[in-house]
């Protein structure tokens, strides 16, 4: 009863906080709302007309939605790179950043689920997939594994920060024995969500471009580069806009994580390219299409040739301590890396899987305006959710938001 009262008070207080702020804050939220509304309008058209309003066809049957889904699973998984040092290795430097990381994971997971729903042909019969009510093809279908791990990870990442913030809100210490088991579980779970998502593609013998043992590890490496890179950018933003103190030391430690992951990712990229191009087989055609185009069709070339140089540039720059420790350069590199991996793991991974088709047919894919509208709307939704979560968390952590007993 008591905690219910506190919870009610917390909800009221946080509502109060998220509806008040500087002019900049209101503009930001208004902007996100406008983009979300535009996205919803686009989605309403898609629901009405069917997926034919997207660029997808019987030849390339997954596109922008599934690309973003795949990438964002990685962003969500990256929270583990802050959770593990904080809760398991007890590194105090990460302590302040970890709640932000978990908030980012929650927002990323909600975006993942939204992208999957947006991609469905029959969103009104999605209850067929709910275990117990529908028919859940577990363990045969990797998609059911993905449903389980993503929702489980979402649950973990909501409950742990909530518990901690809830205790702090009441001026109490969060009890380690309550949340540390959950934190340890979330470390394994994070690796799980990304491996399972990789297996979703890796397990298809029909698509040689995906049916590749390196896909899972490569997913992890790129996720642990892109995700913390985003966290650094977000922390930089929070640092400059609020009183929340995040020390340089924290950001530099996360930067080290980004650097190592980006280096490993680059090694794997080289290994993949070597395999595809040193002794090209019939199965290398997708990679050929991606990098050089096939039979004059080369829609993805500009994308991949943007991504690869950005990736290499950012990784090389980050490798030098002197450059990495300069925060401005670090932020730029993080941004470049984020964009590069978004291209490479989104578009660059999903679309070439379908090109050439099972009988060698090359049909290209370009997203339509409506598809892009829905995608932007979902990203805005993620940013919106994250802003709300982060603001509440920051207010509690800086001690401004406390439960007042009456």
């Amino acid at each position: 009863m008591g905690s219910l009262k506190v919870f009610k008070s917390l909800v009221i207080d946080s509502l109060d906080i998220i509806t008040h702020g500087t002019k900049k804050y209101h503009l930001w939220m208004a902007f996100l709302t406008a983009v979300m509304l535009a996205g919803m309008y686009c989605y309403s058209i898609q629901v009405e007309e069917g997926l034919s309003v997207t660029g997808m066809t019987n030849r390339v049957s997954w596109g922008l939605y599934i690309s973003n889904f795949t990438f964002l699973v990685g962003v969500a998984a990256a929270a583990v790179m802050l959770v593990m040092p904080t809760y398991v290795l007890h590194d105090v430097d990460f302590k302040r950043a970890v709640l932000i990381g978990e908030g980012l994971a929650v927002a990323a997971l909600l975006m993942c689920l939204a992208f999957v729903v947006a991609d469905m042909g029959g969103p009104n019969v999605l209850w067929h997939m709910i275990p117990g009510i529908g028919v859940f093809n577990f363990p045969n279908s990797m998609l059911t594994w993905d449903v389980l791990v993503l929702n489980g990870y979402l649950f973990i990442n909501i409950t742990i920060p909530f518990y901690i913030l809830f205790r702090h809100y009441q001026n109490k210490e969060a009890l380690a024995k309550v949340y540390v088991p959950g934190a340890i579980l979330s470390v394994f779970w994070a690796v799980g969500i990304h491996l399972v998502t990789a297996f979703l593609y890796q397990g298809l013998q029909a698509r040689p471009y995906w049916n590749n043992a390196l896909l899972g590890p490569r997913f992890l490496a790129s996720a642990f580069a892109a995700g913390p890179a985003l966290i650094i950018l977000v922390l930089a933003m929070i640092r400059s806009h609020t009183d929340f103190k995040i020390e340089d030391k924290t950001i530099k430690k996360i930067a080290l994580v980004v650097t190592v992951a980006a280096q490993i990712n680059l090694i794997m990229l080289v290994s993949e390219l070597f395999k595809e191009f040193y002794a090209p087989t019939h199965h290398s055609e997708s990679a050929y299409y991606l990098f050089f185009g096939l039979h004059g069709k080369n829609a993805l070339m500009p994308w991949i040739w943007t991504a690869i140089p950005l990736n290499i540039l950012a990784t090389v720059v980050l490798t030098f301590h002197k450059l990495r420790n300069n925060l401005t350069i670090l932020y730029i590199c993080c941004f470049l890396l984020f964009v590069a991996i978004w291209i490479e793991k989104g578009f660059g991974l999903i679309v070439p899987g379908f090109i050439p088709g099972p009988y060698g047919k090359i049909a290209e894919y370009l997203p339509t305006g409506i598809e892009i509208g829905v995608t932007l709307g979902i990203w805005a939704m993620g940013a919106f959710v994250f802003t709300i979560l982060a603001r509440t968390a920051v207010e509690i952590e800086t001690g401004k938001l406390r439960y007042k007993k009456k």
Partner: protein, 360 residues
């Protein structure tokens, strides 16, 4: 050749083994539960679990039914007070739509439930269009395993099979959906799909070319079935890989998993002109589809289960297409497999297609 024979035998044996087990758990011995998956006792058990889940679904559905009934009473009270000639048909249609929305997976339905949903669909179509359909829920016969063979030497690329397929199976005319693709290949290049043209518009047979048709191969080990998150697609006991259009959620994972380009998606609402609708339908076959679901070749299940050839076989003017029961030693298909040098596409993937190619 003997190796090939072994393969049918293994199919046959597994089929035989499965039947008695299924009669125990599912009553009917042909449909439901384990029919789509592997023939082993371990698999048969969890299927019971699904059946139990379906039991729960029925309860929920009854709850919905009662809820609807009470809603209808309320709505009826209002409408009778307002309009004189009440729209009984509209009411009935609402009831049908409601029950259809919350029905279970066809694969796990009992015979009575299958019949009930077919009746509802026929009635719903009648209310909407004043037209009567003949829709079947006929199950697979015992001792039948369908297979197909394609004679590369005979095919001239006329594409009569393609148009017969479209007409027979009520495919969307707007997007020109076709299950069959005929690939035109150049003499001297061998069977080279990469160089082939599957979208030609010239007179055939073109000089110096030969033709190879592809469609769903109804694999014995179908990857599309494994990946479906909701078991909306499965292999029937007579070997036909089918889709429950009402259970499919439209994720298109099966499409990504198919190595043979055998599946098609309804990107928008499929349209068939009223006068062109084939009214001889099967629930798992050519009944009218809706937007956002998968569909595919079903070996014309509405014809083949009635002992007829699929439309493509019947339409082929050159006799390049052979269809029949692999378990019947006197069938033409068995003769072809035993006497011709047959091969299948992408055998290295382990999908075991039941679609063979041969030459004269």
């Amino acid at each position: 050749m003997s190796e090939k024979k072994n393969k049918w035998f293994s199919l046959k044996l597994s089929n035989k083994k499965k039947v008695p087990q299924d009669t125990g758990s599912c009553g009917c011995g042909k449909k439901s539960g384990g029919c789509g998956s592997h023939a082993s006792t371990e698999v048969a058990k969890p299927v019971d679990g699904f059946d139990q889940v379906m039991g729960a679904t029925m309860d929920r559905r009854n709850a919905f039914k009662q809820l609807t009934a009470s809603l209808l009473v309320g709505a009826g009270a209002i409408s009778t007070s307002c309009s004189v000639t009440s729209d009984d048909a509209a009411k009935e249609k609402a009831q049908i739509d409601w029950e259809e929305q919350f029905k279970g997976n066809y694969k796990l339905m009992s015979d009575d439930e299958k019949k009930a949903t077919v009746d509802r669909l026929v009635r719903s179509h009648q209310i909407r269009t004043q037209d009567t359909l003949d829709m079947s829920s006929k199950t697979a016969e015992e001792g039948v395993l369908f297979g197909y063979a394609f004679n590369i030497s005979k095919c001239q690329g006329y594409m009569d099979c393609v148009s017969a397929c479209v007409t027979e199976n009520n495919q969307d005319r707007n997007s020109q959906m076709e299950y069959i693709r005929i690939h035109e290949m150049k003499d001297g290049q061998g069977i080279n799909f990469g160089e082939a043209d599957d979208n030609y518009y010239h007179e055939v047979p073109a000089e110096g070319h030969f033709y190879v048709g592809t469609q769903c191969f109804h694999c014995d080990n179908p990857p599309c079935v494994e990946v479906c998150p909701v078991q909306a697609t499965w292999k029937e006991p007579d070997g036909i890989v089918v889709v429950d259009y009402d259970w499919c959620v439209g994720c298109r994972y099966c499409m990504a998993a198919c190595p043979y380009d055998g599946r098609r998606f309804n990107w928008s609402k499929p349209e068939v002109p009223k006068e062109e609708i084939n009214k001889n339908q099967h629930y798992l076959g050519n009944r009218l589809r809706k937007k956002g679901v998968m569909e595919k070749c079903t070996f014309c299940i509405q014809r083949s289960r009635d002992g007829k050839n699929p439309a493509c076989v019947e339409a082929c003017p050159t006799g390049a297409r052979v269809f029949g029961n692999l378990l019947d030693p006197n069938s033409t298909i068995r003769w072809v497999l035993e006497n011709k040098k047959v091969f299948r596409l992408k055998e290295d993937l382990g999908t075991e297609p039941k679609f063979w190619y041969y030459m004269d």
